[in-house]
Subunit: 429 residues, 2 copies
Amino acid sequence: MRTRPLKVALLGCGVVGSEVARIMTTHADDLTARIGAPVELAGVAVRRPSKVREGIDPALITTDATALLKRGDIDVAIEVIGGIEPARTLITTAFEHGISVVSANKALLAQDGAALHAAAGQAGLDLYYEAAVAGAIPLIRPLRESLAGDKINRVMGIVNGTTNFILDKMDATGAGYQEALDEATALGYAEADPTADVEGYDAAAKAAILAGIAFHTRVHLDDVYREGMTEVSAADFASAKRMGCTIKLLAILERAADGESVTARVHPAMIPLSHPLASVREAYNAVFVEAEAAGRLMFYGPGAGGAPTASAVLGDLVAVCRNKLAEATGPGESAYTQLPVSPMGDVVTRYHISLDVADKPGVLAQVATCFAEHGVSIDTVRQQGKDGEASLVVVTHRAPDASLSGTVEALRKLDTVRGVASIMRVEGE
Amino acid sequence: MRTRPLKVALLGCGVVGSEVARIMTTHADDLTARIGAPVELAGVAVRRPSKVREGIDPALITTDATALLKRGDIDVAIEVIGGIEPARTLITTAFEHGISVVSANKALLAQDGAALHAAAGQAGLDLYYEAAVAGAIPLIRPLRESLAGDKINRVMGIVNGTTNFILDKMDATGAGYQEALDEATALGYAEADPTADVEGYDAAAKAAILAGIAFHTRVHLDDVYREGMTEVSAADFASAKRMGCTIKLLAILERAADGESVTARVHPAMIPLSHPLASVREAYNAVFVEAEAAGRLMFYGPGAGGAPTASAVLGDLVAVCRNKLAEATGPGESAYTQLPVSPMGDVVTRYHISLDVADKPGVLAQVATCFAEHGVSIDTVRQQGKDGEASLVVVTHRAPDASLSGTVEALRKLDTVRGVASIMRVEGE
């Protein structure tokens, strides 16, 4: 076994970084045995050097991350700063100085993954980022390596813990969105500004990364259709229950039936209670994968948190260090299929539409005609009337999203339709 | 990209082997792109050369596997023969001739894993076997690589589809064991001789492999405690339901509380319906992992079948070919902790004991005293009487298995105890 240690620069020392530093110290012997050489925390770049950081030698702390990467003895950099800058520049600097990178940065990977992969590839270095998607759940490596001999057709996942916690509360207690969000905030599951989670931005970044790996094609954050879950109501949950469903915020990545294009989207959807994703409770994440030969797989676990995310970072660190010792690199970006990403209008799925209508004869016929004219076939209709007003719940067969949008636009123009109360996709059947 | 193909010898061409050959042919371009070089099926060793094998060039077929390995141009051998011999000798021959191996052979790995790993290591070659445990579910790679920076404390899995199908039927329909087995046989889920499945031999082999990887220690098939599920009755399921539980055949691998030893066991057990493993239906497999930093993870999917197993084999093939091109090897055996495997008597868990007793005063006191004398603390007792006979169901707190065995032995000697109807462990709480 080599005795000269591999040197690690830790960029960022927040919730995840401090856990990484702690485990590197407390489990040093295990890491040495698994890597085949000792691994040493050689420097920790932070913004606020005055903050007390238990268990970290103050001599390691620096505010100059660039100087740390340039000093010449660093083998691997761990980037747990998050956000686009300065993370992007630092990762690029690392590659320029022969340093492989482990990152937990979903936003950066979803936006600039192609350029960063190219930089790593040119330099003959590794870029690993298991922690960027679904925290501790091994997902990137299984998709990219275990399923490397298979063809993935569909990935459907709960990849944001905050929104799953809120939706699970709404489902379990009948609470409205605001009430459930308040509870999530009070318990620390939601941030003071929950926009990135509840509007689906966080899930969309993960969707872009997963789609790229699953389909061996480049999927940019901008290619991902995104709808948040702030409009999901207690009434939607009541409707879902009547259908034997629950509601989840899903990231859905699909290969088109002809195999010639892919789609990537994030939105709330009804799924049957019998689907394995339906029983994913609280802030847990889970990703359901359908592959041609392997069939239906699911990966489940905590999607966030300091220790779980650190576990994923350290798994990558072991792999990158082993590669370094073997003078090899792991699998880089695989984008050889170059499939186009189709717009949301091309997605084919089912819909649950709730309409407020006038309670008079002929309304149903008018509404049904409207669906038929747009080529959207109706599966079931449920009518409920009271005091001259009525509600009409229509569940459709599979239809292109563009046809459904056209239908809804036309429905809104009917004088017997007072309003479209909710439109929700129905998945997982 | 290298244009000279990597040459693969396929040893065995049954259900799994023929799927491997089929996918290698139909997905050749994808495999080439993912490996970075073409991969070619260079020979297929079979027992019955006369059998028609659709899609395989008859010129590739040979009955002489040894000659195929020795002919000098093979890069990787895929062993899907199963059983100990001739698989063991062929794998050893492969290593002697500079050929890396992908195997799906759980029995061989559980019995001779250490020697095979040593042979691979000495030769500087790869031995991969994702398909040996839980079919298509990525499990070996996540445990050995994704969690390489973490400490796994517990693995609990449904790793045999046949028995899960039978138990699921019994749970859903109230059927007895024989009736459910007959249905499994009729549907092709159970073999004509189901011994390996229902007596837990198959699960025990997988348990040995998983324990070795999870704990970085050597666990031999003989170290695994094994109990089959042929004694599980409809009455046990009724009892389980009353407790909010179901019954699964589980492989359970645990690190002792002091971290100084491990245990490995396979037996039927009651688990709460709220546990993620409880909802694993039909012939699906799932493995639940508890790691120090990552927390609770679960991996779910089809545990057997030609195509799913072939998917796992081909994932390994891609990795081994990539290693070959990089002139590197993947992680080999990691057994540095050398932890002892403790006997079943040291396992600490809870128990559900059903007794047939005389329906007269003082029986409960006598039984309770018996538990107390052996240091087994009782959680709940349920008494049910009819016609001078009664049944007593005792659920204990956590106690060592040896103490429970002592208690049961003593209970059998009480004249008020007519018989011990069933003893079942209660897990997952």
